[in-house]
Symmetry: C3
Subunit: 255 residues, 3 copies
Amino acid sequence: MNTTVIERIRTRRPLIHHITNAVVMNFTANGLLAFGGSPIMANASEEVGEVTRVSNGLLLNIGTLTETQVKAMILAGRAANETGIPVVLDPVGVAATSYRSEVCERILGEVQPTLIKGNAGELAHLVGIEMETKGVDSTGSGNLEDIVRRVAEKYQTGAVCTGEKDVVWMDGEIKVNRSGHPLLSQITGSGCLLGSLVAAALAVDGKPLENVTAVLRLYGEAAEKAAAHKDVEGPGTFLPRFIDALAKESWGDDS
Amino acid sequence: MNTTVIERIRTRRPLIHHITNAVVMNFTANGLLAFGGSPIMANASEEVGEVTRVSNGLLLNIGTLTETQVKAMILAGRAANETGIPVVLDPVGVAATSYRSEVCERILGEVQPTLIKGNAGELAHLVGIEMETKGVDSTGSGNLEDIVRRVAEKYQTGAVCTGEKDVVWMDGEIKVNRSGHPLLSQITGSGCLLGSLVAAALAVDGKPLENVTAVLRLYGEAAEKAAAHKDVEGPGTFLPRFIDALAKESWGDDS
Amino acid sequence: MNTTVIERIRTRRPLIHHITNAVVMNFTANGLLAFGGSPIMANASEEVGEVTRVSNGLLLNIGTLTETQVKAMILAGRAANETGIPVVLDPVGVAATSYRSEVCERILGEVQPTLIKGNAGELAHLVGIEMETKGVDSTGSGNLEDIVRRVAEKYQTGAVCTGEKDVVWMDGEIKVNRSGHPLLSQITGSGCLLGSLVAAALAVDGKPLENVTAVLRLYGEAAEKAAAHKDVEGPGTFLPRFIDALAKESWGDDS
């Protein structure tokens, strides 16, 4: 392919429908806009199906889920499956409560995701491996390749495990990304925004594994560039520079 | 009048009650505070009437509407109509789904707005003109003056169409504003915040047409100033500088 | 004690469960992360008890309350009381509507807070003293020590009144803090974030009165440092520098 994934995203400007958590909505919308996508966020069951049908991708994030929102997620997910739109599920904090765990299984029983993206603790929980977690953050490590493969096989889906190193599994192939910066873990929603960008990666032409891995790499490189900016003195000043870095026009993207 | 609209806003600090979308609440509150107004955001049907009655203006924004919120909007809107408080309606994404379209008509059947503010696609949809839209963003153009006049006549209201040029229609008169910067379209909620500032413009003394047009001009000029700031390198760093620009004390405001 | 409260917070990284208002969720999460704590925000009645039981502190903030959220607050508050986890109640805008006032009494009838944090108008309202308020902001002054003492006695709780000077009452003792900067009042949620940090202060070892007062002082000093930063030109650029200041590793904290 003669174009890069970032070029294809910026040309198509894929419309991504988000049913996501209330903490990160603004940051996610600004981050996806900067990267080149187009965000829409609707929660009402009366309209989520229609919104999904005009979108190019769907992100489901359970970070502040309620029963009403779960109902909307299932309606949107089914609409996406019916129309062949990629679905990314981010099972935020699924290991934290039995309710999240139950809801996740309920969604996965009704909706076929294209990709499940989570940290090690979340993905491990989905396949019955216990890891140490704290709130919505995973603190453990383990055989990430094995966890990702088991999630992919259990749910017949692509899978991405994010962390110090990111592991991507799609269609029986695996890739690893090692770009990134620790400041990302000091701003809320950095993983949630990545889920949105992964949905954009799946919404444009190209091999999904390559697209997703390239976006993970770009995300980490943007964090590295922002953290190295001379005016960045902590997580507060990192955030706007990170958005700037996501918006940069001339990426060194060779995917 | 010997004072400018920005002076009157900063003297009165009008309290604007927002029933708005979840994506932009924080940005809207910070933007209105910077501009000189005072934000309050309440959604519970049990209290929205009481909140509106102590406010100086009401903003209704349907960006992430739910049935519960629509009920609250109608209660708040009626309270505003009863007490003579200006009401601004922002029909975000009204062309995107039949539900939004139906809800908008329902609100407009129960609440008399002082002003409807939207982009070209949203306003065109309200008066039955089809334009190209993408999610909540309008991508088409057209005879904006005609669209604005038709919205104003159909709903017996003021109307503002925002975009590269802004067109204001109030009480049979029309004004155009051409200040602004493309970076505004790269941050989420820039149109939503403008709705809040327009409500503030209607909440202070002065001719509504002049007040609203002056605020549109100031908003665009603040964006131009922020975009020209030497430390701004993209939408991330533009946002805080834009808030700073809205807060600047010595505006060149001659309205 | 040989460690400071900020050292203890950064060592333990207390997990604080927030049921808070939708306007400030993102800012609160980023602020608590910067300060050294770990935020979690869940609203569903199905899981708030379980989330609270694995947390080290609970913050209840009624800024955009709904009946559903009030139910969740009571469930979470009872879980916290049963497991001995500190509870901070922030009665945002309690004087603004009769509904907020009624809800506050309902929560306080079911949940024993460790500390109630509010501005002068909010705390005065809780003990039947009328003060001038505007929306969710208090504009009056008065005998703050008396108000705080009366709140503490009426609800058998610690109490903090925030404003130009902060007054803390815990276990029959009183302390005053005078650090701070007016720019704090120009960003939305600065009081709400402080409630979160106070919950973190109560979640670590040390005398509660000393911990809370130290955190109030650090918060004000961070605002002073940020406001004095050469690149800060208004509330927009103040905000990221304030988060940076909260994250600074080498605090001059002698508590």
